[in-house]
Amino acid sequence: MKINSNFLPVTNANNSNSNDNKNNVSFAGSDKSFKQIAKDEFNKLFTLKRQGTMSRGLFIANAFVFLLGTRLVTSRDKDEKREIIIRDVPSIILAVIGVPLFSKIIAKGMQKSQGFAITKLDKDPPKSELVSWIKDKLKIKSSDKVKPKLSELSFAEINSLYTYNVKCGLEGFSKRLTDLGEGVDLTRIYSTLSNEIKEGIEKLKPENNQDLLGKLKNDEKLSNSIIEALKDGKNAAVKKAGFLKSIPAMLGFGITLSLLGIIIPKTNIFVTARINKKRALKEKETQEVKKKDSPSIAYKKLSTGETKKAFEQFANQ
């Protein structure tokens, strides 16, 4: 396209470094005003996703305010309020974040036990500006250790990670897998490709990933057969990785559904029954105490012992 400049360049603020732009999220933000941080957090919370759904945090906030809020306000007694809190607060939270939460935990364990990379570890996750500001104000020292953030890989990412359509050789391809996190075992991954490859790798007796890669460098035939097998977009490793990724999703759904459908309602009933039992016991006790002081018993007391004598004396006067 023609780049034609036939007027004087104007020196205005927009000419300066784009890093000054307030909306640039890569800015460290340690000296942003609280107002700006609050505005950013508000915008982050009040945002609709690409599909149009509310973000999960906003959804929970909405449900708490409108569903829970109205139920608490229109509840008639303490019992109902207690039931609402025990039953509805965990239900709302679990319905929104239950599946990804349990799925992530199980995926982490699955990766360690099966050796296939189905999660990724972000070793340098972005820090929340609000948290940093609060820590700064309260003079809490933020530790230098950065907690890495674990997230699940998507099915699309798994399809491309386990297919060889790159030009970097087996070593580069393997590095991309092992960089994803702990527990990735190349021996197990490449052994699923075919029985021949599995036997070839077993013969090499690799001790760990590095060892395997070193030995494969010397065995060109085996390396090439691995690469050839990986070139297929539907190779055995892709299929297994995809299946191993759907297991945490299955279990995530299963746990969330059983918690929501069975365990929380039953807990609610159990707690209510226990409270009612306690109340019934307490009422029985007060009933018995009242019975001891009732008129008939009082009269019986009167008609025995000294009180009786005193009464008769009075009557005979």
């Binding site: 396209m1 023609k2 780049i3 400049s5 036939n6 007027f7 104007v10 205005n12 927009n14 784009s18 732009n21 909306n23 640039n24 999220v25 915008n43 009040f46 945002t47 609709l48 690409r50 599909q51 149009g52 759904t53 509310m54 906003l58 959804f59 909405n62 449900a63 305010v65 409108f66 109205t70 319905a95 929104v96 239950g98 998507s154 099915f155 990412e157 491309s160 359509n165 790159v166 030009k167 970097c168 580069g172 391809f173 590095k175 991309r176 960089d179 075919s194 029985n195 021949e196 299929k239 995809g242 299946f243 759907s246 999703a249 299955m250 759904f253 969330t256 559904l257 929501l260 459908g261």
Partner: protein
């Protein structure tokens, strides 16, 4: 029924001349593997089926995931409880209670997602640029501002589109020896993205084009990666933000349809750079505010609907719970009457 395993490697193994097993015939029919063929076939179907199902749920997003959780754990059980309430006393299902539970649960759960989706669709129909993430909007805006510094007129929309597409490409892939053919294809695809047919209920053509663009970016990423494999070949960077190719294709089309076309229609008789820069800044701020406003509107709209739902599902003045209590009371009194 024995399902012949379609595992290619089994066949290859048994035909390979190096294998010294007794069985040297191709053994598709008589499989000598330890696990029987029919079991293998069923397991294969289960594996592929479950992978496909959960892959669909992931693509479909939060809406479908929540729908499944809500339907199975809240809607179905509560309708059952409602239908069975006092079934022994009534002698049949308690249709009134069941209907009220159904109405309440079916109206509240899905609507919390459908209403915001409707609002976003409405807003994005008229102001397309509000449908992208803030980071992408900022990045495209910055790029656009740099472009208009070197432009003599802003009236040709196609030229502006092409300049922006080229800038995006250069930022992501410059000096990485991308073949010229692929570079041209990238720029052309982005430039034409705003002209691709995209109706509300017919997005097939657009989806196909998006898929093509994603494959192109995948190809480019794999060619330029050199010693390292790209961690996500269908993504690239604009202004320090990583974007997915498919998302950027749609975002570019929206940006072009909304902001670039308005820019090309506006008249900057004086200094183009100053006027156009201010124009772009105003539009960007407007779209950002619109994004927040649509989220706030969704929040309030969903809330109001949730408050209004009781009027929709309640039939009659007495709730099923009250009716049940009245029935129980009548039973006790009737029983004690009998004893008198």
């Amino acid at each position: 029924m024995k399902i012949a395993s379609i595992n290619k490697t089994n066949y290859e193994n048994n035909v390979s001349p190096n294998k010294t097993s007794m069985n040297s015939y191709p053994s598709i029919i008589n499989n000598t593997e330890k696990d029987s063929v029919s079991f293998g076939g069923a397991a294969e179907i289960f594996r592929n089926g479950s992978t496909g199902f959960f892959s669909f749920i992931e693509k479909a997003g939060f809406f479908v995931e929540f729908l499944i959780v809500d339907a199975i754990s809240m809607i179905a059980p509560r309708i059952c409880v409602g239908l069975n309430r006092d079934k022994d006393k009534l002698g049949h299902f308690n249709y009134k209670a069941g209907a009220e539970e159904a109405g309440r649960e079916i109206l509240s759960g899905p609507s919390m997602n459908l209403i915001p989706m409707g609002i976003l669709a409405l807003v994005a129909h008229y102001k397309q640029a509000s449908h992208m993430s803030r980071e992408t909007l900022s990045a495209l805006d910055e790029n656009m501002k740099e472009i208009i510094k070197n432009v003599s007129s802003t009236t040709n929309k196609n030229d502006l589109d092409k300049a922006l597409a080229e800038k995006v490409f250069n930022e992501a892939f410059a000096d990485k020896n991308v073949p010229e053919k692929l570079k041209t294809k990238f720029i052309d695809m982005l430039t034409n993205s705003s002209n691709v047919e995209k109706k509300l209920f017919n997005k097939e053509v657009f989806k196909n084009n998006t898929g093509e663009f994603e494959s192109l970016v995948d190809e480019i990423s794999n060619i330029i990666s050199g010693k390292e494999a790209p961690s996500n070949p269908k993504a690239f960077k604009i202004k320090n933000n990583t974007v997915l190719a498919g998302d950027l294709y749609a975002d570019f089309a929206n940006y072009s349809k909304d902001i670039i076309s308005k820019l090309s229609k506006a008249d900057f008789s004086k200094e183009i750079e100053e006027g156009a820069t201010k124009f772009l800044e105003t539009l960007k701020n407007n779209r950002m505010k619109l994004k927040t406003a649509s989220a706030i509107t969704s929040f309030i709209a969903v809330g109001s609907f949730l408050l209004y739902i009781p009027k929709l599902y309640q039939r009659g003045k007495v709730s099923p719970a009250q009716e049940s209590a009245m029935r129980a009371k009548a039973e006790v009194e009737g029983g004690s009457n009998e004893n008198k």
